[in-house]
């Protein structure tokens, strides 16, 4: 295995789970999320040389994932958002536990947010430091803190509204 391949494997193992969460949160669909993760890592591999000397490799991977997500849905976007809720529920009916249902509900709530809000909140949920989120999303840290505060409130409000029913 070459040095590049070893580095790539390491990057995949360290970041793929979080990137999958980001993609799943954005699309609300596991197949699309898988495709996006794959597309992201293909781009990571193609740009591996440009990553050298970067202090935060994960930041660059996230940025590729974010840009890949943002330009992914295009024509399918509207249709997907409408079908999302049913799909998420149907997806797990066989093995649904109370916890799993709550997780499905959480994804359903994330799907109600705006595109950039979905991206930011999945990074917050994955506990990325705020300066890193700011760098990935290209938003100033001050502005980001305000945005995150609003998104947290919005998400909690949507979640509690659904949980009551």
């Amino acid at each position: 295995m070459s040095q590049n391949q070893r580095l790539f494997k390491e990057l995949f193992e360290q970041n793929s789970r979080k990137i999958y969460h980001l993609c799943y949160g954005y699309t609300g669909d596991s197949d699309s999320a898988n495709d996006l993760v794959q597309e992201t890592f293909i781009k990571v591999w193609q740009n591996l040389d440009k990553f050298r000397n970067q202090s935060q490799l994960s930041t660059w991977i996230y940025r590729i994932a974010v840009n890949t997500c943002l330009t992914h849905l295009r024509g399918e976007k509207r249709k997907l958002t409408e079908e999302l809720n049913d799909h998420l529920i149907e997806n797990y009916t066989e093995e649904s536990s109370e916890k799993q249902e709550q997780i499905n509900l959480l994804y359903k709530c994330i799907a109600q947010l705006e595109e950039n809000e979905r991206i930011i909140i999945t990074m917050v949920l994955d506990e990325l430091p705020y300066p890193e989120i700011a760098e990935i999303s290209g938003i100033s840290e001050g502005n980001l803190r305000v945005k995150i505060h609003r998104i947290k409130q919005k998400l909690a409000s949507i979640y509690n509204k659904y949980e009551r029913f």
Binding site: F8, K9, I42, R63, T71, K99
Partner: protein, 197 residues
Amino acid sequence: MKDFDEIKQLWHVQETSAGPLFKDVTKAVRETGKGYAQKLLVQTLSVAVVLIALLAIWIWVPFLTWTAHLSLLIISVCVGYYLTVQWRDYQRIKDSSALLGEPEKYLEYVKSYQASRYKLNTRNYLIYLCCISLAIGIYGIEMYFMMSTVVFCAYMAFTIAWIAACYFIFMKAYMKRENQRLQDIISQLEHIRKQFQ
């Protein structure tokens, strides 16, 4: 009622086995690499073969009129232009520096790329079509001296019908479809880009 921190706990208990496997990703990487190289090779070779054939015809076939030479010159320039555009777009796709940029700037880049593709597929293609048609038309002068009147008239009628069909039917429909598609993409990109401002 749950607050955000309670909701956050849920996030961390979700299954971690989901997502593609490393072997699937490396397989996709290999296939993509082959795909890019093959596509570029096939396209470049095809255009190069056409260009060589044109030049061979130009050199080896003794033409009677200077208009035949002009016709071949126009077609060669058109094919050369196509080759240049293909190469430039490949380089642009290969250069992924925009992909590593901030989302707002990346979306702006995608928007400008889509707009330039639209210009290429509509306005530039129209100019390309006109030039090819002109070249085929003026080649008719050479044909006039080589063919019987009936065959020449059939050639000219076919050429005019082909040009008219390309412009009034195919081109108009294509431009309408492309414009609609572009507007959809740009409005979506704009919608998302504004969220990052």
